[in-house]
Assembly symmetry: C3
Homo-oligomer: 245 residues x 3
């Protein structure tokens, strides 16, 4: 059984996070909220998202799994104006998700969850921890896009740097410790990532959001941030690229 | 003889209505205003539009017919800023339409009206009459667009419904009687229409406009609404599609 | 040696002017400012631009020439928010231009200036001089774009006219003397130009800018206007097209 009432904006934030990696996702639903874990088809990145009971206006559910098509949810969300509230329930008889916005009712077929994996987020011990406004990262990403398909994340005890190296040009965004919300770095580190993946992940952070980055030396990066006004959280894991030198 | 002075916004509303169905149109001009009737090339829909003398700032005309190319009028209208007034007259010697906006003068060739038909709007006795804000219909149309190329209009004594049925999903906008401006329905009815045609027609209603829909059982629909701040009126007729069952 | 500090908006105006004609340009730099001259690849138009010392927040330079790739400057400018200040210097050791915006640093390779010509702006004695708001010209250009690829500039002692003639339609923007900021015209003149070139040139005038046009009979046109809030100036020269009659 699943019956929920929530702000369209909360569902939008959630779907934006997931749609950077997958087209379909399995939602793990309980009376305490929704969680999901997904790996992108190329196995380069993973997402772990949870939405607490407090993120909902109302939530009534017994434990269940629902497979949803992200595009269909986006279609419904495109009908929601700012501030609209959605009612969602599971029609078990026909196995459809039923979404109500204002006077509109959409019946949506569900996706079979049989083939969907249950990825586990690895425990990583990453030497550098950086907390900063997503807006800063977005500036660095924008600067890198004309230079390369890759971006390096670099940290030491003094600050944090995003940099990209092209054939003839290069660009970097340097943030000294005092421009960061938090910096903890036990050793100088540098890892290279796909700019596309990194950009999509950072762009799914709610506007005016804050991101905590954990990075190492040629190691995966973890990004964590809040959604649903603090009533939900996201962790992305992104595999590094090998630097040619 | 034809010489008129009118708000660019009035001409824009008129051209938007006509351009949903045809590229060229014959204007029937008298000293009392302009009327036009047109059928789309696929013979699926018809429009009947009239613009009263009061819709013009000034109008001096003897009875005549002018064939105009809709795209050329659109080009001229793209030069008009909100509130601009247009002066239009017929240069009979060269058979051109001459349009003045501010300091710009455009001479426009006319289209031969010889081959253009004079369609007659049929008299239909339709059992359901629904009056509502175009904005409501637009929400229903938007919801249907991801589901199907067709939309059903359904009415009974309790309310009005727009619905679309896809292979796996369905959507409906239900408006109970109290959410409508007017409902008159002597028997339950349902007719199916091309979503494209219906959407274009409803989108040509001036913003914050009100539409009166007349529908029957597997029968053409009529849509009527005002333009030119009440100094003009439009009737669309749209043929139904057969439901496969 | 070259080290400058200037508003992003000033550099944007300069780049917009140059990019209408060329992809790469040689900047002639002195302690008094920057000048450049360029001819487009088709040899239809020329630009002569100068930016005085006063256009900069700071400028320290010894005489030098730098070849820059316009697209790369545009990429950097896309990172500048309104009001942002840029720091630019020449890293002579690696022959790179280094641009700083906020916390971002971009190293940009320079273009070899060896093959770049030093065009000379011819001295022309043009009988008609018209000064007017660029916005007026933009309206005339917009009106012409649906009619033809060419635009005629026409002047006599009474006024100035932009006109275009298509196969069936024509359009003109007529400005009587009292609608112009200045008109000096010793003999009636008319010259035809490529609409594309003319449109791009006029669109690179800063918004709310004023243009001085000098034209003759089947002769090149000169357009002059200010950039950098009066601390820079631009002269465009545009070759005429032959009228078929």
């Amino acid at each position: 059984m699943f019956k929920a009432r929530l702000k369209g904006d909360v569902l939008k934030e959630m779907i934006k996070v997931v749609s950077t990696l997958v087209d379909e996702v399995k939602l793990n639903i309980t009376g305490e909220g929704i969680t999901l874990k997904a790996v992108d088809p190329a196995h380069v990145a993973m997402v772990d998202l949870s939405l607490n009971k407090e993120a909902f206006e109302e939530l009534e559910a017994t434990d269940c799994e629902l497979g949803v098509d992200i595009d269909k949810i986006k279609e419904v969300l495109s009908l929601a104006k700012a501030g609209d509230i959605l009612d969602i329930d599971h029609d078990e008889e026909h196995n459809k998700l039923v979404v109500h916005i204002e006077n509109i009712t959409r019946h949506m077929s569900l996706v079979d969850t049989m083939g969907m994996s249950d990825p586990k987020m690895p425990q990583l011990n990453l030497p550098a921890n950086i907390k900063l406004a997503a807006a800063e990262l977005n500036q660095g990403i924008k600067a890198s896009e004309s230079i390369s398909n890759h971006i390096a994340l670099v940290a030491n005890a003094d600050g944090f740097e995003l940099s990209s190296q092209g054939d003839t040009d290069s660009v970097s965004l340097k943030l000294r410790k005092d421009l960061l919300l938090h910096l903890e770095c036990s050793e100088p580190v540098r890892s290279l990532f796909s700019l596309d993946y990194f950009a999509n992940m950072i762009r799914s952070v709610p506007s005016s959001g804050v991101v905590t980055l954990a990075i190492g030396q040629d190691y995966p990066a973890m990004m964590t941030f809040e959604i649903a006004e603090g009533n939900g959280s996201v962790t992305y894991l992104l595999a590094p690229r090998i630097e040619n030198e």
